[in-house]
Amino acid sequence: MERVDGRRFDELRPIKIEAGVLKRADGSCYIEWGRNKIYAAVYGPKKVLPRHLEKDDRAILRCRYNMAPFSVEERKRPGPDRRAVEIGKVMQGALEPAILVHYYPKSMIEISVEVVQANAGTRCAGITAVSVALADAGIPMRDLVPACAAGKVDGQIILDLAKEEDNLGEADMPVAIIPRLNQITLLQMDGKLAEQEVEQAVALAMQGCQQVYQMQIDALRKKYAGAEYE
């Protein structure tokens, strides 16, 4: 089957990850995933605001996902909407299991994801970028969290849907994993898949995640290449 951009069914779009791009944030990352362009920034651990959210035994995670008005074809009304709040929430859920939150009780980690250009799969690219930014901020983690989507277009299960495929396809399923434990931290789906197809799609997405994982490691390696200490 020929895909719109001539990829194989199990091929990712070209991905470029760069760590430590924002000076004012404690940790940051810029990702170009196909035609997606996303910045992720991490602040903290810091004092909890508002105070009533404070947890005595662990750090809390606050995620903000935002799309720039010019990130999509038709101007998007600025400000948080239902979709942005939801994505913030699922990103928090996807990342929290990987972070060693009990190391910093009574503190807060603030995450901000800014979508500058969107082309399907922003939540996956966002999660990928945030986990690199978290590592860049020096926050202790069990592992990095790569994310990647799989879906069904023209009756075939394919990896990493582009915008055109997402619009025309039958299903889209973003998956985020903790590679070392082989555990899934995010699994959503819209559209329809048969039971068998779901399994197939999850397996394919997890394969894609492993490729993304390598790119995350390379990005961090690249930033700190030649580092020495003491």
Binding site: G27, K106, A135, R142, E230
Partner: protein
Amino acid sequence: MIYANNKDLVVPGMLLAEGDYINEDGTHKDKGQIYASVVGICYVDHRKIRVVALEGKYIPKSGDTIIGVVTGERLSGWTVDINSPYFASLSQRDIHVGRFDTLRVGDLVSAKIVRVTETFEISLYAKRPHGRLNEGILVEIHSSRVPRLIGRRGSMIKLIKEKTGSIISVGQNGLVWIRGGNEGLAAQACQMVDREAHIPGLTDRVSGFLSR
């Protein structure tokens, strides 16, 4: 079985060792396997494995000498901002100020952390040689770069002190207090160390910068 070499650059989730090893800072253990939890340099010392983080906020440890800013007054002491996610408290009897003198909000203190509880309630001790820091300027650097600013057996800080003639006091929390001599030059040197901490040949470059 060990998988990482000494002084390797590691990233979170990287398997470092398996079996009979002791995990220290910057690592975590899961089902008998030791993994890195931060980006940093891995050090292997016989059976001990640790990762020195290249980034990160200052997390208070008892025994550290820090520099803090007084942020509030309480009945018998002060709260002190120590450039970390947690406030510290300093009791009136743990600092020596003159009879007609007191600490005010905004003052700088050098102090030692005597106790950190499980929930990060932090007690300071600021009697001699610690205490209030008068005048001078304050420079903030990353706390993870403090060992670089001090250098091997204090070589770097000694160099800066000699070339600028300043009195410099470095807190483990990344706050640096500079007084006297060429304050501006000393501050610039500290910031240079902060910026270029991970690039080899740092001492030579700082020396060159200060001689110019």
